[in-house]
Homo-oligomer: 383 residues x 2
């Protein structure tokens, strides 16, 4: 743990159990569900100062702080969550939970199926963003929250949008960062190839690999490499690696002339792939990318405009210039439909060379924008 | 064979053998090499009316015409090659050969190593674009050609650039389409993930799979799917597939709620992957993508300007607005360096929604531009 006066400090992941079955969007009943979550700050007496953070594809409940005195790696949005930060824990009760289908404490394909005593694997039901929100709502009710602000980047933004429509009576403000109301064909294609790599791995074994000697690590690693190409952009890859070789002697590049790692960008991708398999479950990757592919507000509600007519919240939409996975054009689609639906919406496109990853990196600009937006919610003047 | 008066008709792939060893860029000696090639039209008396076409990543010697009366699929650039077409076989002697390292008749990793009597596999040497051109030069000399026009799209453009520098005494005109003088970090990354998928396939067997029951088809198929995402673009994928499902009943989309093919774009990719493994060799994919990654004229010659100072030809550079794999900016880099080197260069960016694939599809506009460029070569006025 670093000595940081703006840190929420040491936090613990907590667990909440939903005993009754949940009806999923696929019409299947599913349960029980355990939800891993963390909270930072204090719920006020009116129970109306809560912010629910929604994580991206491979995130978890650990959004801020450290898990122990010796923990070196803070939560995934630590730059944005803490005393005085964008999501100010002196003012707000900040909640983050691991998504249904995940592999970090919330019930997912690697959890034990109580009916069989073995991990679900591919017997886990296909879930959607709507299902994930349904589970989150149970947690929010359990915590006694009455009014809510929802915020998320990437897939987290999809969940925030879903919240704003399905629970419009409760959601007062929505922050959507680097997100979309539906993936493009290209986005589906990238996810599909990643899933293909996992499903093709000989150790995948139809999803029953948990107690095997080998795991579908190569397939999962390839899926992650594809992901990382889309999280960066040509400019950020050029700035980070260019065409630099891994090996050089006295400033002279040494090509291998074989199929080992030659270029620095190959080394980066291999590292990202390798570290990912140590922390993420291949089945969860299948289920969560599928939920992302299925998400399509216009398709579900007839039109995006019709979807947003069901909301009651104020919206902040943020995009990044170099994000080609969830490009500004898709954010603008959301903004235009919100305006058409008569909603109060602020939009900001942040100049950044960091690609889609910018929502995890460009915290200074995001902090200013988010603080200003939330201040209006409190009836404060802009800070 | 379709009844097309502008077709070159029935053609045969011919073979030329280089008995002596070739010194490769890696300093290894390699040989013998067989070269598969086709020619269309007639070499004139002065032997100065030849056009060498250079194929892209997975192309072959069969650029135009049909292989038999019952052949339904013409050569890969049939729209551009034939009597009265862009590369007019009434005027020109058009040559196309399969690249060194390929798998369509020219010596490559699937060829028999005469020293062992078994396929080379990974004992095939790593080759470069320079090496491929060295082999092509032997063919051109064998055919008695004295002056040459070189033309190619994508990787074919890289070879055309290499020709213009290495054989500046012979090359009079160069046509570079949807190409680059060096791949970006993002381009290397896509190739690297594709190679990774092949190398990770359990049936790859260190490249010795030719006489095995199973081939590394899944890995090769994944590599091809990644490739196809980069050959199209977001717009063309949207136009072709959008978010349309494969299954629908009475106009209502039916999601599978499993991991089978759901969206039409997934179906397209799976089909592309499957048909590719029937026609292409996984080892060749490794070697040829590696040659593409290594190609870097500025690195080799000190600067792009220095590279082009070694040329004597006129240049035509064509790019496509929606090509994000070899974007217009990279074509402009070539054009600017050519101008700086004092070369005669024409540049045209063609408006197209087809992505990188446009060089194989947008033949009408390309035909006009190429004809006009070649007419100047003949001292003709523009047609």
């Amino acid at each position: 743990m670093t000595n940081n006066k703006n840190s929420v400090g040491i936090v613990q992941t907590k667990y909440f159990n939903i005993e009754e079955n949940i009806e999923l969007e696929s019409k299947k009943d599913f349960g029980p569900v355990q939800v891993a979550y963390e909270t930072y700050g204090t719920l006020n007496e009116n129970k109306d100062n809560a912010i629910l953070l929604l994580h991206a594809l491979t995130g978890d409940a650990h959004a801020a702080g450290f898990h122990s005195e010796t923990d070196k790696k803070p939560g995934w949005w630590d730059d944005m969550v803490g005393p005085g930060k964008a999501f100010d824990t002196d003012k707000y009760f900040v909640i983050c939970s691991n998504m249904l289908g995940g592999c970090s404490g919330t019930t997912g394909p690697c959890s034990i199926n109580p009916e069989t005593g073995t991990p679900y694997g591919l017997n886990f039901p296909v879930i959607t963003i709507e299902d994930a929100v349904k589970v989150q709502k149970k947690l929010i009710d359990f915590l006694g929250v009455k009014k809510l602000i929802v915020a998320g980047g990437s897939m987290g933004g999809m969940q925030a949008l879903e919240w704003s429509i399905t629970h419009s009576d409760m959601v007062e403000a929505v922050i959507i960062i680097a997100s979309t109301s539906r993936l493009s064909a290209q986005g589906i294609a990238f996810n599909a190839v990643g899933r293909n790599a996992i499903l093709s791995d000989p150790y995948f074994n139809n999803g029953n690999y948990y107690n095997q000697e080998h795991q579908p690590s190569k397939g999962l690693s390839i899926a992650r490499m594809i992901g990382h190409i889309t999280y960066l952009c040509e400019e950020s890859m050029h700035n980070k690696f260019g065409r630099k070789f891994k090996n050089e002697i006295n400033g002279v590049d040494i090509p291998n002339f074989d199929f080992n790692i030659d270029f620095q960008v190959e080394s980066y991708l291999a590292h990202q792939g390798q570290t990912f398999v140590d922390r993420f479950d291949a089945n969860s990757y299948l289920y969560i990318t599928k939920a992302v592919d299925y998400f399509d507000l216009a398709h579900k509600h007839g039109s995006l405009n019709a979807a947003f007519k069901k909301t009651n919240a104020r919206f902040l939409v943020i995009s990044f210039t170099s994000d080609w996975l969830f490009p500004t054009s898709q954010s603008k689609e959301i903004v235009q439909a919100l305006i058409k639906a008569g909603r109060d919406v602020s939009f900001c496109e942040i100049e950044s060379p960091c690609g889609h990853d910018a929502f995890l990196l460009e915290f200074e600009t995001q902090t200013k924008i988010v603080k200003s937006f939330l201040a209006k919610n409190n009836g404060e003047t802009n800070e």
